[in-house]
């Protein structure tokens, strides 16, 4: 059955209470089309004939009841639960415009006034995209804050009550929530991972650094050419070339901070590695994720690891929470797409125990693999010799990664560097120092 492209105007005002809507039906329809356009711009997957379906739905339920109208339009225009929040936000503006037009100007509606909110939506994709992004940032941040701050707030309240100032955050990952003592760093003896990070950086470097070395496809090395002419009586026999040595990395570090990861990886070690990566790499953006995503790049540049942790607290970056890798990836894709480009090496620290939707994980990994230069997955669980990447998250993600490695101590980073330097050999946790004699 094909939808009626031009629903009977009277039916939009079905009922006595909305009879006056008849003369503004065109405006309502116009606002509806703009509303659908705004939804699309905000990233909502609206079907191609969404406007028609929405008009039909409104014709059935009328404009008497906001809740029914909202439900009807949602049924017609939204097909993913994650789009509901965006829909509701834009619907509020749509509904406000419609009711204002109906209430204030029963005899007719001035187009510019009526279209006010939605006209700007359709004015330009960039403008709408910017605002949509800002809005989503805003709401997303609010949502995150409310969740995270609630967790931390609880912890803080308890901490105050208990007089235990050391209790700052809660783990609530794939297991039960649990409080974690965040003692000052240094309590656990851990090797400094800086050297290991440097070795890793050398192995995966792709950006040209400051030093120059001989090359076959570089620029002429005039000085060397002149020196060589001494041996040939001033005759230039060949022109050596030189180029900048690749020793810099542009990276993106995504760290799963669920408890299943933190049970295996020492938190101090993790912070030190992240700080070393931030120092050694040319650019390194770092995101922590559990059920939410928080960028902590600036915090990692703090003067000391302790200061970094204090910054984490200030950012309300919670340690713990269920692992939603797909959500994290798609959030980064939507909000900070420039974090990854074709020169970016991505390190993803996670156990792969995804609790979110696998389709979303696959979408995120596909985007990451297509966009980044290399994607390396550092899995703390792979330190076990009996480890097999058989969990659903790893099975979904594995086709999209360039290497799956164990990660729990500096030796692992040295070993990753060793494997990556031998470009002809297979790489991965099966070939690391724990399982071989190397």
């Amino acid at each position: 059955m094909s939808p009626d492209p031009d629903p009977d105007p009277v039916r939009l005002g079905d009922g006595d209470g909305t009879g006056s809507l008849t003369n503004v039906t065109t405006r309502v329809r116009s606002a509806l089309v703009r509303f659908v356009g705004a939804l699309r711009t905000a990233g909502v997957e609206v079907p191609g004939d969404g406007s028609l379906a929405a008009a039909e739905s409104l014709a059935v339920v009328g404009l008497d009841d906001e809740r029914r109208a909202r439900t009807a339009l949602r049924a017609a225009l939204v097909s993913r639960p994650e789009d509901v929040e965006t829909f509701d936000r834009l619907f509020n503006r749509f509904w406000r415009r419609v009711t204002e037009a109906v209430d204030d100007r029963p005899g007719g509606v001035d187009a510019s006034s009526f279209d006010g909110g939605f006209a700007s939506d359709a004015a330009g994709d960039d403008a709408v995209a910017d605002r949509g992004t800002d809005d989503s940032h805003e709401s997303g941040d609010d949502g995150r804050r409310s969740t995270v701050s609630q967790r931390l707030g609880d912890a803080d309240a308890s901490a105050t009550a208990d007089g235990d100032a050391g209790t700052r955050a809660r783990f609530s990952p794939t297991g039960p929530s649990d409080r974690v003592e965040t003692d000052p760093l240094g309590g656990v003896a851990t090797d400094d991972p800086t050297a290991a990070v440097r070795a890793l950086t050398d192995a995966i470097a792709s950006l040209p650094g400051r030093r120059r070395v001989s090359a076959v496809d570089g620029r002429p090395d005039v000085r060397r050419a002149m020196r060589r002419t001494h041996a040939t009586g001033g005759v230039v026999m060949e022109v050596p070339q030189r180029a900048r040595r690749p020793d810099a990395v542009r990276g993106l570090v995504l760290v799963d901070v669920s408890q299943s990861v933190l049970d295996t990886v020492d938190r101090e070690f993790l912070v030190r590695v992240l700080r070393a990566l931030t120092d050694e790499w040319r650019t390194a953006r770092t995101f922590l994720f559990d059920t939410d995503v928080t960028e902590v790049t600036a915090a990692l540049r703090a003067a000391s690891p302790e200061a970094t942790l204090q910054e984490f607290d200030r950012l309300e970056a919670a340690w713990g929470g269920g692992t939603r890798i797909g959500h994290a990836l798609t959030t980064i894709r939507d909000r900070t797409p420039t974090a990854v480009d074709r020169e970016t090496v991505v390190l993803l620290v996670s156990d792969g125990l995804e609790t979110g939707e696998l389709s979303r994980l696959e979408a995120g990994m596909t985007w990451l693999a297509r966009r980044a230069r290399r994607v390396f997955w550092l899995n703390p669980l792979a330190v076990s010799k009996s480890y097999e990447p058989a969990c659903r998250g790893m099975v979904t993600a594995r086709p999209h990664i360039d290497g799956l490695f164990a990660f729990a101590e500096p030796a692992d980073l040295f070993d990753i560097a060793r494997q990556l330097r031998h470009r002809q050999r297979p790489v991965g946790y099966r070939h690391d120092w724990r399982r071989t004699d190397r």
């Binding site: 049924a75 017609a76 097909s79 609530s172 794939t174 297991g175 929470g321 389709s359």
Partner: protein, 318 residues
Amino acid sequence: MTDAIHDDFETLTSERLQSLFDASDYVAGDEITTTVLLALKLGRPLLVEGEPGAGKTELAKVLADGFDTDLIRLQCYEGLAAESALYEWNYTKQLLAVQSEHDGDEGSVFTEEYLLERPLLRALRHDGERPPVLLIDEVDRADEEFEALLLEMLSDFQVSIPELGTVAADTTPIVVITSNRTRGLSDALKRRCLYLHVEPPSFEKERAIVRRKVPELDDVVAAAVCGVTERLREESLLKPPGVAETLDWARALTALDGIPADDAVPADDGTDTETDRLLTETDIRSTLGCLLKEVEDVERIDDDTMSALLAAAETPRT
């Protein structure tokens, strides 16, 4: 069988539809009622998504029951093909007919006589007084090729059989498609449907569901059951319990008859003894399999979580 609604869809109201749900003990909020009403009035398929056990399949059953019509169910699975979903030729009968043609009875073997109807075709050719309810269950389990098969049917409510021609529905069936979101559905399929996402129920709604579906369970215990389930959903579980699991658990508790509902009044001195509790740790541990279907989830219920669950069971009573 409930009192069937014999109104025409054109005059059907949300109040009447709500009464249909009530008569079938199906607790539906405004969102479900309005969306179903839209689907009926517009003649569009309804795509229902939500966690397993949220009541998606039940919705189709309730509609069939309420409208006093047939429920035609197509359970999707990986590898589902047209032969199982749409139609199939009766090859044996055709073969016998071809062999018997030597006796002088010549004719095509691609006629109605040799056609085996499968659920989709049966729904289109339904000759009942009222349109049937076609339930395409768990469509995300089927391959994407099967979705393509559905497109023609869902947009025009007709299918093309090369040997016979086009079969169109006299009366548009009520189509309910359910999905557990194990994979994304194609845009083409979603475009043809109205969308309804069944959210996990609130405490009050779940309590009402338990009260209706398991009336033999004491109301106070039902509240405790819902409190525990609600608290359990706050944990990060691989498979959080849905409404179906709550109902299973409620029935299990009833069957075990281990809940001293009448004695569940707190002691006078206010002490919290094991017998005072509506649900004891033993009750929950012994029946946890009704709620959690993954061994990892069961292992996550440690003593702290159990204490939280027991506290949640007590909370609604106060």
